[in-house]
Symmetry: C2
Subunit: 204 residues, 2 copies
């Protein structure tokens, strides 16, 4: 990890995409640790840094996490998303989960909130900036990643699998891997379409 | 905004601090728009991009938002934090809110979630990655910022002030300004202290 300065900031930010399929190139612990270190530099409520990371490489645990996520998807996630997602995105997510794309990630990071260090009310504002730093850092290091929460929506089975104490609650599962293929540029709506000057509906 | 590539990614990430006092240097709309554009490149649940930004420069609206935040701090925030924060951080936050430090920010961005585009359940995982991109982009452009949520905890008065429809709910208030002074390096706990291998409490 000699040169830790990385590529230009905005190149990383404007290239971010969700990856749902990965090459089988292994990931060094040092790379994972850099990604986590970037995560820990995010702000958190009262600077309590309430994150706990479980880095999963063990094949049995890895497979069990995917089984849980796939079960949640098959039970209700897909049916829910069918009415909400454009067909091409639905297909992509379906291939990531049910088609096994996420299973190709060499590393999964389960990002949890410790409710003795942060309040449940502020878990979102404390954990998701950290997760976003992780995703950006992965991109800066040439890896792909995604922000997934489906496997953490009903946290009981995941908590049991990972031996989490009651006060440590999964918030997100981040697959990490070198990209299986290069993704095109992301599509986003124009800033001006969602920006208001001083008051809602006053044009930017 | 000629060169939008920015400084090296990890330099930006590892230097992030919360700013609570700003210089009176004005901020161009183009700089604000770059920060918002970075925000919109964050991931969101189902890629619904449910953010709405209200950019506040108007002095009366700006002052009213600070009044709301200060009232929330005086009513219960400070008393709550007194038992939880180290004295120097409590003093810093108190100076930012009651001491008027945040009032020196030339721009406030109220970041809202549109609940017709994103579910309340996924507001946190959709909005806070966006906010984190904004904070990092501000740093990359030489500005200071902070993630504040106190003024959005009881969103009613803020929604009324900004004329928000019922389905657009404030999630965070981000002050933007050029830093009043250079801040030292952030302090963070070691990654290994909060990282587990395959299972909770198994050392990294």
């Amino acid at each position: 990890m000699g040169d830790l300065n990385g590529p230009p900031f905005f190149d990383v930010v404007f290239a971010q995409r969700a990856h749902r399929e990965f090459a089988d190139t292994p990931i060094d612990d040092a790379v994972v640790e850099t990604i986590l270190r970037a995560g820990t530099h995010a702000p958190s409520a009262e600077n309590k840094q309430p994150w706990e990371f479980v880095v999963v490489r063990d094949p049995a645990t890895h497979a069990a996490i995917h089984d849980l996520t796939e079960a949640a998807w098959n039970a209700s996630g897909r049916a829910f998303s069918e009415t909400r997602l454009p067909p091409e995105l639905l297909k992509e997510v379906d291939q990531g989960i049910a088609g096994g794309g996420y299973r190709t990630a060499p590393v999964l990071v389960v990002v949890c909130a410790d409710f003795t260090r942060g309040l449940p009310m502020t878990a979102g504002s404390s954990i998701f900036p950290c997760v976003q730093n992780m995703l950006l850092a992965a991109g800066a290091l040439g890896l792909g990643s995604a922000l997934t929460t489906l496997g953490a929506v009903a946290p009981g089975p995941l908590a049991e699998l990972l031996g989490l104490p009651d006060h440590v609650v999964p918030q997100a599962i981040v697959p990490l891997g070198y990209p299986a293929r290069r993704l095109g540029p992301p599509r986003r709506e124009a800033v001006a379409a969602h920006t208001h000057r001083d008051r809602f509906a006053s044009p930017w």
